[in-house]
Amino acid sequence: MRRPMYEGPQKGPLRASRVSTLCLGLSVVLLLTVVFSLMTGTASVTWSQWWRLLTGNADASDPSRLVILKIRLPRVILAGLSGFALSLGGVVFQALLRNPLADPFILGVSSGSAFGAVVGIMLGFSYNLGIPVMAFGGALLTMYVVLFIGQKKMGMESSTILLSGVIINAFFTAIIMFFIATATDDRLHSMLFWLYGDLSQSRFAESALTGPAVLAGFVILYCFARHLNVMTAGEDAALHLGVDVRKAKLVCFLVVSLVVGLVVAFSGLIGFVGLVIPHLARMAFGSDHRLLMPVSALGGAIFLIAADTLARTVISPSELPVGVITAFLGAPFFIYLLRKRGSRWTGS
């Protein structure tokens, strides 16, 4: 028997004004985080330099202009987009699989796309198109495997999901290590960094590709917010209410795979964002997806920008991969969830 979904503190029907107020509030927080992140770093930028930059009086070779616009800004934007996409992916996976522990990283979808990307690198594909496409393919393949393992008969219990995730992660990580060990050139050496998520090589070109895709993905997924609400109550109930479950599932899986694949191709394996943020959002605002999706996505962006700021300043002038920071914060939270809630959806 399916247990009821965790409802959270939300009571009564959801009003549109509540969604817009919360999103506006979070957008302000996001903006503040971006500003803070732009102001933080190894090089110090004085207030007068900021003033010249904001008024457009800084000349092109001004180092502070370069630090802000070419080093920090592309990185902050890509971190924000990645956090946005990973957190959104977490929410959708959790609803589709009716499981609170589903997340692109834990399910192995991220390592699947990393595998695709590595194959793309080995085949000499271009970073701007070939490798993201391969990452998308890897994500789709992994999704298919996850769904295959967790077919209805066995039920999508947490243990099944976690186990399949562990297996898939181990398998793809092994393949990636195999490629690294047999690589005859230095091309793949930077991949070790990349396995823990690395935003240090961010360029605007990547955000220009990821940005529209992630936003379009969000719009499409948001159209299915009501479907997701119904489906979390159980697929039978959804069918009775006239929801085309198959179609909704297919579209959602495709869109999430695309978005996650893109993010992994450009920023590597960043774990736990899709787990921590949707959970906090659900605890605070309830589980109506019309609210949960935008709130989680914005929260994910804020979280990852903050984590990356930490990653590049904490042992300055050296850097940590951002995945190390998110894992430090996320893994204890994951254990806490397991202990507190067990493997069930139900509220505490």
Partner: protein, 316 residues
């Protein structure tokens, strides 16, 4: 017809360009254009005074050329000469911190092809900082790189003198070892797992010049991981363990090899421990490494007990 005109235009353009280049070359300006290992043109208006070195071996080269006081930034593990420890750090050579470099306001950054990522080089270029990239992969190329860096830094004469000294030392070694029998050398660069080097590495070049044959030269991977069985099968005549570690574990590893008397190197007691810095870094010290290697591979030769002896870092 049309094509003819086009071709003529092409010639004319080429001619004009050539004139311009000649004019620039002939003009009495202190600046100069250099071409680096990636064939990028590096424009230096003045002699560089504030230099950042993006790899430990580049730091060593700059100090060797007597330019230590011009070095304003180095990467992690730049601990030779010890004066380099006092210089500001700009991250590791794989992940350099561009913000930190910009803060140091260098007028020249020297990088390497394999370690430093291209993104960093591009950013520095956008900031108007000239980046000179080098790519020494053999002993010969290392010496050429030293001379090239000297040219770029405006100490060409000194650089070429030092380079020809190094070249002389290399030639001396090659002359003494070339006619000798070439023993099979196993260079172990990592203890657990056992790792060695293939023919695309500078270590291979050092073994070759020192009059040895690299046991693993034919493998595909640059720094392959191999098993003990493979070593037993290949029967090296000299084992050289190169490590950054000192003391117990390092010594124990030598003892470990003595368990396998079927290896000729063990029977002949030719298992040595050496300082990896002398072999891993394409810096002037690579010649010290070569001299040390030649002595270890060919103990039968009467090596003159000149000043070279004390440079070797080998422990028997």
């Amino acid at each position: 017809m049309n094509g003819d005109i086009k071709r003529h235009r092409g010639y004319a353009a080429a001619f004009l360009l050539a004139c311009c280049i000649l004019l620039i070359k002939a003009a009495p300006c202190p600046g100069a254009v250099f071409y680096d290992a990636l064939n990028r043109s590096v424009d230096l208006p003045d002699t560089p005074r504030r230099i950042v070195a993006l790899a430990p071996n580049l730091t060593e080269i700059l100090y060797y050329l007597g330019l230590g006081d011009r070095v304003v930034g180095v990467t992690r593990y730049s601990y030779y000469p010890t004066d380099a420890l006092k210089k500001p750090k700009v991250g590791s050579y794989i992940q350099v911190n561009v913000e930190r470099i910009l803060e140091l306001k260098p007028d020249l950054v020297i990088g390497t092809v394999d370690g430093n990522r291209r993104g960093a080089v591009k950013l520095l270029e956008q900031a108007g900082i000239p980046v000179y990239v080098v790519n020494p992969r053999t002993v010969k190329e290392t010496i050429a790189t030293i001379a090239a860096i000297a040219d770029v830094c405006g100490v060409g004469e000194r650089g070429h003198h030092l380079a020809s000294q190094l070249k002389g030392r290399v030639e001396k070694i090659v002359k003494r070892t070339s006619a000798l029998k070439k023993p099979l050398v196993f260079l172990q660069i990592n203890i657990r797992p056992i790792m060695t080097v293939n023919s695309h590495t500078i270590h291979h070049d050092v073994i070759r010049l020192a009059g040895g044959r690299n046991m693993a030269g034919n493998l595909d991977v640059f720094y392959p991981t191999i098993g003990i069985e493979e070593v037993l099968k290949r029967r090296p005549e000299v084992i050289i363990i190169s490590s950054m570690e000192r003391g117990g574990r390092f010594e124990r590893e030598k003892e470990n090899w003595y368990k396998w008397p079927s290896i000729p190197a063990v029977r002949k007691k030719q298992v040595y421990l050496v300082d990896s810095d002398l072999l891993d870094r394409p810096s002037p010290r690579i010649v010290d490494g070569l001299e040390m290697m030649a002595r270890l591979i060919h103990p039968e030769v009467q090596w003159d007990s000149g000043p070279e002896k004390k440079r070797g870092g080998a422990v028997k």
